[in-house]
């Protein structure tokens, strides 16, 4: 099959590949770039395990071709932490027992990312809506909602002018 060269900025770094037009973005990330933190749980865009950010917006990467990401910014779970220091949303999942098997967790974290744009405005329902396209079979969701709220609180305290930054407890 005819192959196309593409350049995708993944977690801030440009990555090049020559791919079949039918290659899914999730397979580009996992199998070509070796970023296995993005998971696959279904084939109908229903489960959200493969959620990544494309130009800052959550996208289910099983439902986008790799060639469609040419020249775009993609953020995966591997790009969320600051080196070894967890992002507040990641820390929240630890603090609130927001994961069991962990398979849906990367997708949940990326689906929640846009909530950081205005964390103070986010209520319980907004969190539930943000992750309503992501399936979790282990937790029953309430701890995930608490985890995201923990992360949003920590992030807004860190960015806010009045309160000192919350230093997440080391794992």
């Amino acid at each position: 099959m005819h192959e196309l060269p593409i350049t995708v900025r993944v977690n801030g770094s440009p990555r090049e590949a020559v791919v079949e037009p039918r290659l899914l973005l999730v397979h580009l990330l996992r199998d070509v770039f070796g970023l296995t933190g993005t998971h696959i749980g279904c084939d109908t865009t229903s489960c959200g395990a493969c959620t990544v950010l494309v130009d800052g917006r959550p996208v289910k990467s099983c439902t986008m071709f790799a060639v469609q990401a040419d020249d775009l910014d993609v953020m995966t779970i591997e790009g969320v932490a600051d080196g070894e220091r967890l992002h507040p949303l990641q820390q929240g999942f630890y603090e609130e027992h927001g994961l069991q098997c962990g398979f849906c967790t990367p997708g949940m974290i990326l689906a929640a990312m846009p909530l950081l744009e205005e964390p103070a405005a986010v209520d319980d329902h907004a969190v539930r809506r943000a992750i309503s396209g992501n399936l979790c079979r282990c937790t029953g969701y309430d701890n995930i909602v608490r985890a995201i709220q923990w992360g949003l609180r920590a992030a807004s305290q860190a960015d806010g002018p009045r309160t000192p930054p919350a230093e997440p407890q080391a794992l």
Partner: protein, 792 residues
């Protein structure tokens, strides 16, 4: 031995989380091996058909295709072999119940006949998964469709087509379990109620599908297999049998597993296929199923129909229970009596019922095999019994709570021998306070004020209902597990166990147990699990057993290691072991603070090259085990208030209460997580999920678009309460919790819906309680004469 204290019972955050929240989990599909090939499976589109021929030449010629394999190509390595998960009934059960059970054999690929839509027929191995999938379309199979056995009634028709041609009929298992003179109980009854209650077919769909990677190992002549499984040691046993290779040359690893719930408590044909082909080709082979494949080839569950009768006195006292239930096993009764007998054993629940007769029939149909998912026959039992209790309460004009109070096992009854054997053939003895759990649920749900509110709202056209369901859970089937515990010179304590985690937090809870028993710091304890090379013998993670059987094994081994540590330290420090204790990873000398040494220092001092080989054997390590004397039974009660919109058919849960007693909590954070997760799976089952087959044996709800899982926006207000009754059943004083959350949910929800709809003369006898089902029920009720509507 007394239970270790301190770190046990603490809400410790999980050790395993850091790598998982960073995307650093190593699930099977994340594991890559040099030179690996990709496998794709051709599956039958027919539920029942003869295979006349398979033409794969065109597929074989495609660029990138290495080869195509059918049953004929695999020869003896296609099986049959005895399934390792297919357990013959325990001796005690054979003596008391004498069950009839047809043995089941495993094949890898279908030979001349397919028995369910989705059955594996051929495998393509290619350099790329996309190419392998392309090649599937080029394989031509000549099928001759056969009459489909589409449900239990069709299976039991005289002269029905045979799902298994070697059997005289479609009956896979049959047994009767009895206690007391049940016919006399029914003759003496003031009131007899009957109900036909149906538990639908469902599946618990872990978000990670199945996957296998197999890599030949030229040094050992065997291979390494990574599989997304709850039972690596059962897979190991099956591979040893099928491949004819000594087990020590086969290594099976369950890496991070993305949920199991029983779906992965199985040895699957694909788990044998991938290793067989890796050996045949001399190259690593990998396979992951798609969700669509998973729906039509990973085991389903539940799917029972009960005809249940209760004999009662006018005051509500239970005198007897008769039940005849039929299990739709699908095309292969792959786990024997596990679910049917679990259902029978749990059917009396926590209630005193003097006389019982439970008759079970398991039949084959042309569907995906039915096996144990979380709950494993228990939710079915609770749905049947609690549903019948609701009918009885209505017939006797009693409140459901009063009827249950009158019959439930309370502290005065304990220990309570149910009077029938458990699945292990031993007596079934309850030691939990089921009455206390019920009273807690009654209080927390606000029962006392509810009836007045219900009456008031009905006048306003709003239909609220209250449902209760109590349960017991036999947990921790044994007989035993082992644990290896070793102190390394680094000071790290490595605990190795057989049973792998699929999200239950073993790395944390088992570390807590070891730390408490040994005197180590919990952050120094690392848990290795699910690797047959690390610990060759064990069974796996199922039946809510890890905390009980594996946890106690870790406690025993760690306590024995502590003795060894004290003896070695006494020798090294030239003091009496009686003056020593291990605290926070240090061996302390009584009365001499700072005189001791750390576990790591001791391990270094007595290690090869520096130390002496003492009488207790090399190094600071112990391999020991724990055998469960009898099965511990958890108990609990659920209650919920629902509102049914009779215009739209929608059911909204206003409040849901869980009261659970599983003895001592090792880590309440994790226990609550298990209960909540189980509850929401139960709510999915009660309200949304059903595997619907048509009469041609085609699965009509086989994607996440048709099979509705609960989402974040579907979760009601939940109150979760614990009781921690003492139990003498095991040293840690723990009982199972993994499955408990799901067990009574459908019964409680349907009970509440029926309570809401009672004035309309409508009663559900199955679930999920979908909008469509509610509206149909209401329309049917409205079409009946009023006199019939109020009759029970």
């Amino acid at each position: 031995m007394t239970a270790p204290a301190g770190i046990i019972g603490q809400r410790l955050k999980r050790v395993e989380d850091r790598r998982l929240v960073m995307g650093g989990g190593a699930y099977v599909d994340d594991i890559h091996v040099a030179g690996e090939l990709h496998l794709a499976v051709l599956r039958s589109p027919f539920a029942h058909a003869r295979i006349n021929s398979i033409a794969a030449e065109r597929a074989r010629q495609m660029p990138g295709v290495v080869n195509v394999f059918t049953a004929a190509d695999l020869g003896a390595r296609n099986g049959p072999i005895p399934s390792p998960v297919w357990a013959p009934p325990a001796l005690g059960l054979v003596e008391r119940v004498a069950p009839f059970l047809q043995p089941e054999l495993m094949h890898v690929l279908a030979r001349d006949r397919v028995r369910h839509a989705g059955e594996a027929i051929a495998a393509v191995v290619a350099t790329d998964r996309y190419v392998a999938e392309d090649a599937l379309a080029e394989i031509e199979v000549d099928y001759e469709p056969l009459t489909v056995v589409s449900d239990i009634d069709a299976a039991l028709e005289p002269g029905a087509p045979l799902v298994n041609e070697d059997w005289p009929d479609n009956v896979a298992a049959r047994f009767v379990v009895e206690k007391g003179d049940v016919d006399a109980a029914f003759r003496a009854a003031d009131r007899v109620v009957t109900a036909r209650l149906t538990i639908p077919r469902s599946t618990l769909t872990p978000i990670e599908n199945r996957g296998v990677v197999a890599e030949p190992d030229r040094r050992s002549g065997g291979l390494t297999v990574w599989s997304s499984t709850q039972q690596p040691h059962y897979l190991h046993r099956a591979l040893e049998e099928l491949l004819g290779i000594p087990g020590d040359a086969i290594r099976v690893v369950a890496p991070d597993v993305g949920g199991g719930f029983g779906v992965k408590s199985m040895v699957y044909p694909e788990e044998l296929l991938v290793p067989v082909l890796a050996l045949a080709l001399g190259r690593a082979v990998r396979w992951t199923d798609t969700r669509r494949e998973n729906f039509v080839s990973a085991v389903h569950s539940r799917d029972q129909r009960h005809d249940i009768e209760l004999a009662l006195r006018a005051d509500g006292t239970l005198l007897g229970l008769r039940d005849r239930f039929v299990v739709d096993a699908g095309c292969s009764n792959i786990e024997g009596l596990v679910c049917p007998y679990n259902t029978a054993a749990h059917l009396p629940g926590p209630y005193r019922i003097p006389a019982l007769r439970i008759e079970s029939l398991t039949v084959l149909t042309n569907k995906v095999p039915n096996a144990a998912h979380r709950g494993a026959g228990r939710p079915e039992a609770v749905f049947a019994l609690e549903g019948a209790l609701d009918v009885a309460a209505e017939a006797l004009g009693l409140d459901g709570v009063e009827l249950r109070r009158r019959n439930i096992v309370g502290p005065a009854d304990l220990p309570y021998d149910v009077g029938i054997p458990y699945r292990d053939g031993k007596p079934l003895v309850l030691d939990g306070d089921s009455l206390g759990c019920l009273e807690d649920a009654v209080e927390a749900i606000g029962w006392s004020g509810f009836r007045a509110r219900q009456d008031e709202l009905r006048l306003a056209g709003r239909y609220l209902g209250l449902g209760f369901a109590s349960y017991i859970e036999g947990s921790g089937i044994g007989p035993y597990e082992s644990a290896h515990v070793r102190v390394h010179p680094s000071g790290r304590v490595v605990v190795t166990v057989a049973a792998p985690s699929q999200g239950q937090g073993h790395e944390t809870t088992l570390a807590q147990i070891c730390a408490a028993s040994l005197g180590a710091r919990v952050q120094d304890v690392r848990v290795i699990q699910g690797d047959t090379a690390a610990l060759p013998f064990g069974t796996g993670t199922f039946d809510s057993r890890t905390a009980i059987v594996v946890g106690n094994a870790v406690a025993v081994a760690s306590a024995q290691l502590k003795e060894k540590v004290l003896a070695a330290a006494a020798d090294a420090l030239e003091v009496s072991p009686l003056d020593l204790d291990v605290v926070d990873g240090r061996i302390e000398v009584a009365g001499s603070p700072g005189a001791g040494l750390t576990l790591g220092q001791l391990a270094t001092r007595i290690g090869p090259g520096t130390g002496r080989l003492g009488a207790a054997g090399p190094g600071l390590e112990v391999h020991s085990g724990y055998e469960l004397p009898s099965i511990p039974f958890s108990t609990g009660a659920h209650a919920c208030i629902v509102e049914v919109d009779t215009e739209t058919g929608e059911v909204r849960i206003e409040h849901y209460v869980v009261v659970h007693d599983s003895g001592r909590l090792i880590n309440p954070l994790i226990v609550e997580g298990q209960l909540m997760g189980g509850l929401v799976q139960g709510l999915g089952g009660a309200l949304l999920e059903e595997l619907v087959y048509d009469e041609d044996g085609q699965l009509r709800s086989g994607t996440f678009m048709d099979y509705g899982l609960p989402r974040s926006t579907d979760i009601p207000r939940v109150t979760l309460l614990h009781r921690e009754s003492a139990t003498a059943s095991n040293p840690l004083q723990v009982k199972g919790v993994g499955e408990s959350g799901v067990i009574p949910v459908a019964a409680a929800v349907v009970g509440a819906v029926n309570d809401a709809l009672r004035p309309l003369g409508a009663r559900l006898a199955t679930y999920p309680v979908t909008v469509d089902r509610v509206l149909t029920l209401l329309a049917d009720a409205a079409a009946r004469p009023v006199a019939e509507r109020v009759a029970v």
